[in-house]
């Protein structure tokens, strides 16, 4: 697989799995407005994953759906940070959100400077949405910054940002759920 294909998959996997995890807050977030906001962020992340999978799929001669849902668990390259199931711990959820947005910003900056104009364009498009996610993360960070639980969560989760390879045990269940419909009728189209 080309280096570009690898890199696109890694980012797409991060976005898909984080979108999935964030969507677990839908209906149970601390208050209604935040429920809408966090669900919307989750949906954006999955949208970014889709766009990145589409680009990777062309590179690899496959389709976005096959990349997102038809791979074996050990083929996903997402970081351990996004794999964690954090419901119902809001402090750790926000800590992950803040850490992820920081790392994602750097990564997007690099992609925006790519010689591949299509990739650079997509990265810029994604970054315009991520800017709102960063604002959201920053507001929560400022609000929780003097809470011990939150500060400890930041320290706990920081090392996981770039930890990849063997999945956390809870990834198996996420994969099971995420790919269930596709596996139920192989090759089905909607």
């Amino acid at each position: 697989m080309s280096e570009l294909g690898q890199q696109l998959l890694l980012i797409a996997d991060d976005e898909l799995v984080l979108g999935w995890r964030n969507s677990e807050w839908t209906g149970i977030a601390p208050f209604l407005e935040e429920d809408v906001a966090f669900s919307s962020i989750a949906q954006n992340e999955i949208g970014h994953a889709r766009a990145l999978y589409e680009l990777a799929a062309r590179e690899l001669g496959t389709t976005a759906d096959e990349l997102a849902f038809d791979r074996e668990p050990d083929q996903y390259r997402c970081s351990r940070l996004v794999e964690l199931r954090l419901v119902p711990d809001w402090a750790r959820t926000i800590a992950r959100h803040v850490l992820y947005e920081q790392a994602d910003e750097q990564r997007l900056r690099e992609l925006m400077g790519s010689d591949d104009s299509e990739l650079a364009g997509l990265a810029a498009k994604i970054d315009r949405e991520e800017a709102y996610h960063r604002m959201h993360a920053q507001m929560w960070h400022e609000r929780l910054n003097d809470e011990r639980r939150y500060v400890e969560a930041l320290e706990e989760l920081r090392p996981l940002v770039d930890e990849r390879g063997e999945h956390l045990p809870e990834f198996a269940q996420l994969w099971e759920e995420m790919t269930m419909v596709r596996r139920s009728v192989v090759g089905a189209t909607w």
Partner: protein, 106 residues
Amino acid sequence: MGSPDGTRGRGVIYEVFRLERKGQPFQHAGSIEAPDEAFAEWYAREQYGRRGESVALWVVPREEIVEIDEFIDELERNYHRVDGYPLKEKLKEARERAGTAAPADR
């Protein structure tokens, strides 16, 4: 709504008005609860401004809205009042007399 850490209900209510197009008046869009102004702006944008439906949002704490609870009319100068003139009915009668239909909805 349930809350794992009991943060429900500590926010401020903000009223949100939106401008659909420049040159038009602001219209009430709805209300949101938020812990502070920054959150209020973000949530307002999220709920009333991310589908191209608004060119501006006006987010104001509900407490800032002035309530008028009495109409001072000690001398009963009822010509000051704006109620009591059912213009719609009068217009309808006038149109019937003149034999013209109401203009079609624009």
